[in-house]
Structure formats: structure tokens, C-alpha cells
């Protein structure tokens, strides 16, 4: 993966592990981790099996491929093999004008298009130095939080299915459909929203949208209670998630993990609070954290975040006033030759764009910091020593979207 040094560490661990095993079982095993096949393995010898997990597998949330080395069902090593969905999005940005890049971002984290749009626009706006009108800021925050809700609902449903709980999926998707209805009414699309423009928004809200949304949002906490009823205190759910994939806050920081994964390990780091953008600094919301850093805590954190998103949307709806929806942006967007980085708190973590402008109407380089990709790094570390059943839980708990991992 990206972090060369850390991977070497992991490999060294692995070599030590094999060396230890070799001395324990009396079987000579090369320290490099390459397995020698013996004529007749003894009964208690480790018998490794290589298992291809994905890219066609119901629980890899897309086209993630994991090459597993398993001893029975115990995972000795899990190597993610990514790139099956690579479309060269970053290169595409360079070939098209700035506004033309926005629809490409829809297709990165395709369950959270609004936040992708937002991060992209924010970066370009930072280059241009445009001021966003207040109404546009509030609507952007509403769209972001709705997107966070819908993204978390997808996560809740799918990670429930991964662990065999089928019913929460249908409940979660029932609510997600309603959120998508709101998106559709606003911008005509349900998934690839393309709902923001550099400097503001493409459209104003449709009549009645705010009232209907307020009604829906008021209803939502009770629905979240429903999901919790099925899972939070469920004995089997707890057995399957508590103590699975524990990672400390220090390690999270070392690996660069962000978002709910980091907060479940106890670090209160949320870009909405740490580097407020739009109007988050005047909104009142809590940042849920937990201390154990296991799958259960990540679950709790995300569910609590959904409740906080409800609060944020409510506050924004109360503050909405008629006004401009786009700032003063030139017709042709040609930022000065400069480099900049701007990031937002996407549902999955820190989503940022690093833009190098050379003064033309196209970016010289547009790099994305995708939270899914960077959080995925931790999977081999999390999965080691767990069972195949846990691996499924772990893929769910880091909440990856392959469109964003591969771009």
C-alpha cells in the first residue's frame, strides 16, 4: 500500500511470527514467510491455505480483493489488492476545466456524492478566494449532513448483512430512499448528485422542500431507535463486534486513519470542529467518541453521528433565509498559479483535494485524499489473527467504498 515503512514493519512481524511458529512446532520455516511444503505434514502443523476473498464476493462492498493466508479459518495474513475500479479520475481532472471536474467527484465515493462535490468546490474556492453566500453555506451543510445520514445508513445496513442481520438493512434503506427523494427533488439525481458549483449552488431549493425535510428529520431519531433496538443490545451483535479489530488512537494517527474509525479509538478529531468550513463553527453539535476502538465502538459512534446530523440539519433549517445562492465567480474559472489543499469531514473521514494550478482553466494536478483508501490500509493490521467471519465485519466497519479507494 502507500506507506512503505509500515508495510515493512508488518512484514517483519510476519517473519518473526513464522520464525516463532517454526521453533514451536519444530518445523523449519524460512523467515521470509515462504511456506515449504512437506511430504507429510504432522497433525498439528500449520496448514496454510491461500484464499481469494473477492473481487467477486458479497461482503467486500464492491470489487475489493483480499488475498488471504488462512490456517483453518484463522487469518495469518490479509493482503488487499485494489484497483479493479480504477478509472483515472485524478488524470481526468487535468484534462477538463474546473467546473467539469465536479461530476467526476460524484463517482468517487458514490454513496456520498454531495460531500465529494463539496470538498472539490471548497478547494477551488480556496484558490479563487470566493466568498460563499450564507444561504448557499447553510444548504451545503444540509446536503452534507443528509449525505452523511444516507452514507451511514448504507453502512449500517450492509455491515448488518455482513454479520447476518438482514432486517436492519431494509429499515435503513427505507429511510435512505426518502433522503434520496429529497436529493432528487433538489437536483434531479439520486446518486450522482452534482449538486454543488464552484462558488455556491446550482439551484435554489424547491418550494415546500424545507417543510417536508423538517418533517422527515423530526421523525428520524425514532427510526434510529428502531435500528438500535435490533442491534445495540443484541447479544450476538455484541459478541460479533466487541473486541474485534481493536486499534488505538496512536496507531490510527500513525496510519492516517480518520473519521469514525479514529473517533471510536478515543480521539475527538472532526474537521467540522477542528477546521470549521462553511457555517459549522456556529452550529451546536457534539462529536461522539468512544474509547475501545473496536468494531462495536465504531458502530456506536456512527449511530450517534447520525443523531448529531439530525441536530445539525434542524439548526440549519431554522436559520435558512432567502438570499443569494452563488458567490461572485468569474465566468471562466482561472485561478492564479498556486497550490492549495482543502478538506472536509466526509462520512468516512477526511476527504481532501490537493490542487496545483498553473493559471489556466484546467488544474495542473488535482490529487484526492480519499478516506476510504487510507482507512483501508489498516485492514491487514486489523484482520491479522482474526477469523474469516471477523474479516467480513472488519471490511464493514472501516466503511470503504471502492469507487473512492480506486478512483
Amino acid at each position: 500500500m502507500t506507506d512503505e515503512r509500515a508495510l515493512t514493519d508488518a512484514e517483519r512481524d510476519e517473519a518473526e511470527y513464522f520464525a516463532r511458529r517454526a521453533t514451536d512446532s519444530g518445523v523449519a520455516r524460512p523467515a521470509s514467510g515462504v511456506v515449504e511444503h512437506h511430504e507429510s505434514p504432522t497433525l498439528f502443523d500449520v496448514q496454510e491455505m491461500e484464499l481469494n476473498f473477492g473481487p467477486q464476493h458479497p461482503s467486500t462492498h464492491g470489487v475489493l480483493r483480499l488475498v488471504l493466508k488462512v490456517d483453518g479459518e484463522k487469518i495469518i495474513e490479509a493482503k488487499p489488492d485494489v484497483g479493479y475500479l480504477h478509472r483515472g479520475t485524478e488524470k481526468l481532472f487535468e484534462t477538463e476545466t474546473y467546473p467539469m471536474g465536479i461530476p467526476h467527484t460524484d463517482r468517487m465515493d458514490y454513496v456520498a456524492a454531495a460531500t465529494n462535490n463539496h470538498a472539490f468546490c471548497l478547494t477551488v474556492e480556496k484558490l479563487l478566494g470566493v466568498e460563499i453566500p450564507r444561504r448557499a453555506q447553510l444548504v451545503r451543510v444540509i446536503l452534507d449532513e443528509l449525505q452523511r445520514l444516507s452514507s451511514h445508513l448504507v453502512w449500517l445496513g450492509t455491515s448488518g448483512i455482513d454479520l447476518g442481520a438482514v432486517t436492519p438493512f431494509w429499515y435503513a434503506f427505507r429511510e435512505r430512499e426518502q433522503i434520496l427523494d429529497f436529493f432528487e427533488e433538489y437536483c434531479g439525481a439520486r446518486l450522482t448528485l452534482n449538486c454543488m458549483r464552484i462558488g455556491g449552488l446550482p439551484f435554489d431549493l424547491t418550494p415546500g422542500w424545507v417543510e417536508r425535510l423538517a418533517e422527515f428529520i423530526d421523525d428520524l431519531p425514532a427510526r434510529i431507535d428502531d435500528y438500535e433496538q435490533l442491534l445495540t443490545d443484541n447479544r450476538i451483535w455484541k459478541k460479533r463486534t466487541i473486541g474485534i479489530g481493536v486499534i488505538s488512537a496512536e496507531e490510527c494517527v500513525e496510519w492516517g486513519l480518520t473519521g469514525p474509525v479514529l473517533r471510536a479509538s478515543g480521539l475527538e478529531w472532526d474537521l467540522r470542529r477542528a477546521q470549521p468550513y462553511e457555517c459549522y463553527d456556529e452550529l451546536d453539535f457534539a462529536i461522539p467518541t468512544r474509547s475501545n476502538g473496536d468494531t462495536y465502538d465504531r458502530y456506536i459512534v456512527r449511530v450517534q453521528e447520525m443523531r448529531q446530523s439530525v441536530r445539525i440539519v434542524k439548526q440549519c433549517l431554522a436559520r435558512l433565509e432567502p438570499g443569494e445562492i452563488r458567490g461572485k465567480v468569474p465566468r471562466v474559472i482561472k485561478p492564479v498559479a498556486e497550490e492549495t489543499y482543502a478538506s472536509i469531514e466526509s462520512p468516512k473521514g477526511e476527504l481532501g483535494f490537493y490542487c496545483v494550478s498553473n493559471g489556466t482553466n484546467r488544474p495542473y494536478r488535482m490529487h484526492c485524499r480519499p478516506p476510504s483508501f487510507i482507512n483501508l490500509q489498516a485492514l491487514p493490521r486489523l484482520a491479522r489473527g482474526h477469523l474469516i467471519s471477523d474479516l467480513v465485519a472488519l471490511i464493514g466497519t472501516i466503511d470503504i467504498v471502492l469507487g473512492e479507494v480506486d478512483r
Binding site: K239, E282, F285
Partner: protein, 391 residues
């Protein structure tokens, strides 16, 4: 009426069973399962084929029969072919032992009991047959030449050894009360002593049913299949009719488990409170229908489980079996034996035991409810809620 000799009647009954049970599985249970799960999951379920989706079973059958039957390269061909058969035959055989009702008067002279045969070691034979069915899954997983299927088969083997034992032990406790292995005799004794065995055998019943769910590989113990982990596990490489056989085997096994639960614990074909005169009007419903209603309830519980619970991990499942269910089943045997020995020749001990177990379970349910409420409050208290709702 020379035609209706017992032998002929037995053949008729066998044919009826073998013909109707797969049809019931395909048309009633699968449809009921999908519609009920649809209802529980805020969706509709199949409602396109035939009126209200009633012909869905037929559509599924046509699909399964016309599908290409694939045997993967490198599979152990003979075993791969035999495993589905091995999973369905014992299940269908076991049906022969289930007493669906008391003798039915066919003509003025001829009456016939509503079961194929009453074996004096009936319960033991049933247990044997249901365990043989699992071999179909183990061998099917092994012979497919697929790593996921192999893991599914191995899980099934692990599950088998963990659940056969508590199931057998749970039934031993009931056998102390029934004093017979014959399923018909078990039902008749429940009428004689004015007590369904579920009351003194409350614990035994729970152990039996949990083990039964595990034995039939249904949620939350559907590990050998585990769609999201092993991609359907043992049956990944099966298609067409062979898959249909596995399917039929699984559902017939569910029917068997439910029927045995009804027979052993819930008075078989007896109406509720068979000795209370005030409830005699319940006798209008034929015994056969009572049996089906009770068995249907347990099948419903299976479906209910499926849409409620997440899946256990296989080591946790084995832990549950070995560390909890076996010790509990053993303790239960001692308790039941003590109750019977304390009142030799009478049934007072069993009645006392019913009250004790009933009280214990009620208390446990209350405590669990209380704890649930408390942990919920605690959880809500630890989460930062921030200041007011809106600023």
C-alpha cells in the same frame, strides 16, 4: 373392503407424505417465509406469480429444474452427486415416524393411524436420521473442490459435534418423564398425566430447540451457508436439481425438528388443555389440524429468528454448545431425575418442577428486561449530547 389392508394403507400414506411434503415446502413454507420476512422487513416479498404470489413455488421449481446442472472440474463426482441425496433422504424418512394424529376412521370398519409407523425406538431413530442428514452437507462441501465450500463443510462438522450432544441430552431429560421412546406413547402419556412435557421440561425444550436450529443450519446458526462470509458455503457449487435437493433437505429437516418439538413437548395432536372440560369446544378442530398449527408455529419461529438475529461466529457457536448447553442439559437431567425420584409412582414431582422452572424463567425474563433498560440508560448517558437542541 379388502382393498384397504394395513399394508396398502401404509403405502398410501408413504406416497402421500413423500408427495405432499416437498409440495408443502415449495409452495407453503417458502412462500410464507418470504412473505413473512417481507412483512417484518418493511417490504412486500414475492407477489407477482399467481394471485398474491401463491404460485411463486412453481416458478422457483421450474427455474431450478431447467437450470444447468454443473459439476465443477476436479470435484469428487460420485460424492458430489450423492451429497444432496444424502441430505434429503434421511429427512424424508424421518417423516414416517411423526405421529400427525390419532387413528382416523376411514370406513365403518377400517381405521388407520395418521403415521406411517410407530417404532419402539422412534425418538432414537429420529435423532440418528437427522444426524445422517448433516453428512450431506459435510460431504457436499468437501467434494465441491472449492475452498469456501470446504470451509462450509468443516463448519458443519464442527456444528454437528457441538449440537448433537446437547440435543440428545435435552431429550434424555424428557425421556425420564415419557418412559418411552415411541413417539405415539409419548403423546399418549402427556394426555394420561394431564401435563405437556414442555412445562417440567422447559429448559430441555429451549435446549432442544436451539440445538435444533443449529442442526438445521438456520439463523442465527447458518454458518455452513453464511452467505456473506462463505458465499453460500457448502452449496456454492450446486445448481439446478441438486441445489433443490439441498433446499428440500433443509426445509424438511426444519419440519422434522418442529414436529418433534410438538410431539415431545407440546402434546402432539392433543388440543390445548386436553383434560379441561370447559375447553371441550376446542375439540371441534381435528387433532390433525392442532398438530399442524403447533408445528406451523415453530416454523414461524424459525422465520422470526431469521429476520431478527445476526449470525454467530463458529467458535462462539461451539463455545455456546460446549460451555453452556451441555452443562445445562446435564444439570437438567439431574434435576428432572430428582423430581421423579422424589415422588415415586406419581407425577407430583413433575408438576412441582413445572412451577419451579416456570418461576425461574419468568424471573430471568424480568431480570433481562430490567438489565436491558438499565444498559440503555447508561449508554445514552455516556454519549455526549451537547447543549440545547437548537441554538
Amino acid at each position: 373392503m379388502k382393498v384397504l389392508t394395513p399394508t396398502v394403507l401404509t403405502y398410501v400414506k408413504v406416497v402421500l407424505l413423500v408427495a405432499t411434503v416437498p409440495a408443502i415446502v415449495g409452495f407453503v413454507i417458502v412462500l410464507a417465509e418470504r412473505r413473512l420476512m417481507g412483512f417484518m422487513q418493511a417490504r412486500l416479498g414475492p407477489n407477482r406469480v399467481g394471485p398474491k404470489g401463491t404460485l411463486q413455488g412453481l416458478a422457483d421449481l421450474v427455474k431450478l429444474v431447467t437450470k444447468e446442472d454443473v459439476t465443477p472440474a476436479g470435484a469428487e463426482k460420485a460424492v458430489h452427486f450423492l451429497s444432496p441425496v444424502l441430505s434429503v433422504i434421511p429427512a424424508l424418512t424421518a417423516l414416517a415416524l411423526i405421529p400427525f394424529g390419532p387413528p382416523l376412521q376411514l370406513t365403518r370398519k377400517v381405521s388407520t393411524p395418521l403415521y406411517v409407523t410407530d417404532v419402539n425406538v422412534g425418538l432414537l431413530f429420529l435423532l440418528a436420521l437427522t444426524s445422517v442428514g448433516v453428512y450431506g452437507i459435510i460431504l457436499g462441501g468437501w467434494s465441491s473442490n472449492n475452498k469456501y465450500s470446504l470451509l462450509g463443510g468443516l463448519r458443519s462438522a464442527a456444528q454437528l459435534v457441538s449440537y448433537e450432544v446437547p440435543m440428545g441430552l435435552a431429550l434424555v431429560a424428557v425421556l425420564l418423564m415419557t418412559r418411552s421412546l415411541s413417539l405415539v406413547e409419548i403423546v399418549e402419556r402427556q394426555q394420561r398425566i394431564h401435563l405437556w412435557f414442555v412445562f417440567p421440561g422447559l429448559l430441555a425444550f429451549f435446549l432442544y430447540f436451539v440445538a435444533g436450529v443449529a442442526e438445521t443450519n438456520r439463523n442465527p446458526f447458518d454458518l455452513p451457508e453464511a452467505e456473506s462470509e462463505l458465499v453460500s458455503g457448502f452449496n456454492t457449487e450446486y445448481s439446478g436439481v441438486k441445489f433443490a435437493f439441498f433446499f428440500l433437505g433443509e426445509y424438511t429437516a426444519m419440519i422434522i425438528i418442529s414436529c418433534v418439538a410438538v410431539t415431545v413437548f407440546f402434546g402432539g395432536w392433543l388440543r390445548p388443555f386436553p383434560n379441561v372440560k370447559a375447553l371441550a369446544f376446542l375439540g371441534i378442530v381435528p387433532p390433525f389440524v392442532w398438530f399442524l398449527l403447533k408445528a406451523g408455529f415453530f416454523l414461524f419461529v424459525y422465520i422470526w429468528f431469521r429476520s431478527t438475529f445476526p449470525r454467530y461466529r463458529f467458535d462462539q457457536l461451539m463455545g455456546l454448545g460446549w460451555k453452556w448447553m451441555i452443562p445445562l442439559a446435564l444439570a437438567n437431567i439431574v434435576v428432572v431425575a430428582a423430581a421423579i425420584l422424589a415422588t415415586p409412582g406419581r407425577t407430583n414431582g413433575l408438576f412441582a418442577l413445572s412451577w419451579i422452572y416456570g418461576g425461574l424463567f419468568a424471573a430471568m425474563a424480568l431480570l433481562a428486561r430490567l438489565r436491558r433498560a438499565l444498559t440503555r440508560r447508561e449508554r445514552l448517558a455516556t454519549v455526549p449530547q451537547g447543549a440545547g437542541e437548537s441554538a
